[in-house]
């Protein structure tokens, strides 16, 4: 269970952290006015300050709001079921390449939900990898990453 308060806080901390990073990083580019005009760091510095102060406002505002429940545990579970495999999918691309990862992802998703048989899932998996190859590699000549495994196999 996640309350609105904690989600607001987390988001405000996230944006505030980004704002702070922008402010700090802009110091390196110089702030203010020099012979060449407005220094490169000025604009990011101002923007970073806006993010930072806005986040502080949102943080306080979020705390003051009623702590109603924004995410019930059943919703959290469904989120996790979608997000974790997606993150794993993206995570393994450098290792096994986009084709194998995509096929595995489709196979896993179909087989997990028990609707399709294993044969059906396997066919769909190979089909989607093949479709990617046809659309990107063949039609639009965009080479998708093969990953370490692909380099190793010489594919």
């Amino acid at each position: 269970m996640v309350s609105r308060r904690s989600l607001e806080t987390a988001t405000a901390l996230l944006t505030g952290g980004f704002g702070a990073a922008v402010v700090v990083s802009s110091f390196g580019n110089g702030i203010g006015w020099s012979a060449a005009g407005v220094d490169a760091g000025t604009f990011p510095f101002i923007v970073g300050l806006i993010i930072l102060s806005g986040s502080v406002y949102n943080l306080v505002q979020g705390w003051l709001e009623a702590g109603d429940i924004l995410l019930r545990s059943s919703e959290l579970k469904r989120l996790a079921i979608l997000f974790i495999p997606a993150a794993v999918y993206v995570g393994v691309i450098p290792l096994i390449g986009m084709y194998l990862a995509s096929a595995g992802y489709v196979f896993g998703a179909l087989a997990w939900h028990k609707r399709g048989s294993f044969v059906f899932s396997a066919v769909a998996a190979i089909g989607s990898a093949f479709a990617l190859y046809l659309i990107f590699e063949r039609t639009f000549q965009i080479s998708l990453p093969r990953g370490l495994l692909g380099d190793f196999a010489g594919f």
């Binding site: 988001t11 580019n29 220094d39 490169a40 990011p44 806006i50 997606a86 639009f140």
Partner: protein, 502 residues
């Protein structure tokens, strides 16, 4: 007259076999992304963008803009038949569209929606035809201070009229600006905000941001609710379609008012979503059949649909003539223009006549194509909604991943996209608006350049923004819009009105 001639010339460009084919493909793909819950117009267009790099700019923009029209129509289909808005801008259509369809009149609901949508789009295109070159002519006299003032006005109107909490809008905007600044600074040549990651020298692509924010973010929002797709008959009865379309002029006043609201919200970047809500709210307040709203009242479908499409279409007016997109999707298209080597803004009307008028002519044709195609394909796309979400979701993740990679063959973009996905989810959940972020990412460095050039002209004095009537008026308008939410809030507290709901 000059415009009419140019428009006719535009038709000779748009009416080639190749372009009609692109229109069909664009509209069909658009309806597809409009119908699918996790995909919408902004990321549909950005997914297609890397694939257009080898095309003629005019062909590419016809493909992308038709996808936009298709997505606007597709979003209404699911709103009406399933009570699931396929696009944020068609949320208001569910209020009366779904009840009407549920009560056994799906064809009437769909035809009312498409008919008024077509009217709204037509209003937008006519506005563009009549005024775009005039606006461009005025804008030719703009110098950097005027440009910065116009940018300021655009951003301020987001904060003032976007309808989201103003400070959250401000944070969203500023994050977009910061993202636009990442990479090499075009003025000084120094490297900014890379946070120690060398690859970020190339900057953060708005395409990657859009795919994460709208694609993955939208998907995470959608997965929370268990979809209970209750199938309403999706058979289209043609006799009823024509009867409904011919009956629409009875609602002439609602149509005109909604189109006006839509056009206004499209030009000042309020966007289609805000336009449709505002139009619905006003229709409800002033209708003599107020009690029927929420129960399948035709006016409740006409108002949001007309405004939605009028806003979507007229969002291209400031994009073409000023280089300021009026909606998130228009921002993505404008990013495309810059990638194809065009310079959005008044010079387009002088240097790229074929492109501009070909696009405008294609908007007339594309919307006709969209109405016909969407009516023909309603049963097919309605069937698509019955494919379980767990099958569609991984496919959308894969499409977004491959799409993000294909922008510049970089794995870092894929990781960034996932990060943007989480951010998009949090933002949607907590009512931070996403469109300002996208807009600022696309035109952030142009706004910054305009500011820095103005400062060079005035040797560091802010007085240049008050140096003539035009620039002063623009700045004051912007400030007024920034203060507007405060006034609204005060008024709202005094009157304590209930929010717009059926």
């Amino acid at each position: 007259m000059e415009n009419l001639e140019a428009l006719l010339h535009g038709f000779t460009i748009a009416l080639s076999g190749n372009h009609i084919f692109l229109m069909l493909i664009g509209v069909l793909l658009g309806i597809l992304v409009g119908v699918l819950p996790g995909l919408g117009a902004p990321n549909g267009v950005s997914l297609l963008l890397p694939l257009t790099f080898g095309m003629q700019p005019v062909s590419a923009i016809i493909l992308l803009s038709c996808m936009y029209w298709g997505a606007l129509f597709g979003g209404s289909v699911t709103s009406i038949l399933f009570n699931i808005p396929g696009e944020p801008s068609s949320v208001a259509t569910t209020f009366d569209g779904y009840p009407m369809a549920r009560d056994g009149r799906p064809t009437t609901a769909l035809a009312t929606a498409f008919g008024s949508a077509a009217f709204g789009a037509l209003a937008g295109v006519v506005l563009i035809t009549l005024s775009a070159s005039w606006v461009a002519k005025v804008a030719l006299a703009f110098g950097p201070p005027e440009y910065f003032a116009v940018y300021f006005l655009a951003f301020a109107s987001f904060v003032g009229m976007g309808g989201s909490p103003p400070i959250k809008t401000l944070v969203s905007l500023a994050i977009g600006f910061a993202l636009a600044a990442v990479g090499i600074d075009t003025v000084s040549g120094s490297v900014r905000l890379t946070m120690g990651i060398d690859e970020l020298v190339k900057g953060v692509s708005f395409v990657v941001a859009v795919m994460g924010l709208f694609g993955i973010g939208e998907l995470l929002i959608a997965v929370e609710d268990e979809f209970n797709v209750k199938a309403i008959s999706s058979k289209v009865e043609w006799r009823e379609v024509f009867r409904t379309l011919f009956g629409l002029p009875r609602y002439g006043w609602v149509l005109l008012r909604s189109a006006a609201i839509g056009c206004w919200m499209g030009i000042t970047p309020g966007g289609p979503t805000a336009a449709s809500f505002m139009s619905y709210g006003i229709a409800k307040r002033f209708s003599s059949r107020r009690a029927n709203f929420g129960k399948g009242e035709p006016e409740g479908i006409i108002a949001p649909e007309t405004a939605d499409h009028a806003a979507g279409t007229s969002a291209l007016l400031p994009m073409l003539s000023l280089g300021i997109p009026g909606s998130a999707t228009a921002a993505v298209m404008m990013g495309g223009l810059m990638i194809w080597g065009l310079n959005p803004g008044p010079m387009l009307f002088i240097e790229q006549k074929d492109f501009v008028w070909g696009l405008i002519a294609s908007m007339y044709l594309g919307n006709v194509v969209a109405v016909i195609l969407v009516l023909l394909t309603v049963p097919i796309f309605a069937a698509l909604m019955r494919v379980p979400f767990f099958v569609i979701a991984p496919l959308i993740v894969i499409i977004c991943t491959v799409g993000a990679y294909s922008v510049s063959n970089s794995y870092l973009d894929v990781v960034l996209m996932m990060g943007f996905g989480v951010l998009g989810y949090l933002f949607k959940k907590l009512h931070y608006p996403l469109a300002p972020l996208v807009l600022a990412t696309v035109i952030g460095d142009k706004a910054e350049d305009a500011f820095r050039q103005s400062m060079l002209m005035s040797r560091g004095s802010l007085g240049i923004f008050f140096s003539n009537t035009l620039v002063t008026t623009l700045v004051f308008l912007g400030v007024a819009l920034l203060v507007l939410p405060v006034i609204w809030q005060a008024l709202g507290k005094m009157m304590a009105r209930s929010p717009i709901r059926p």
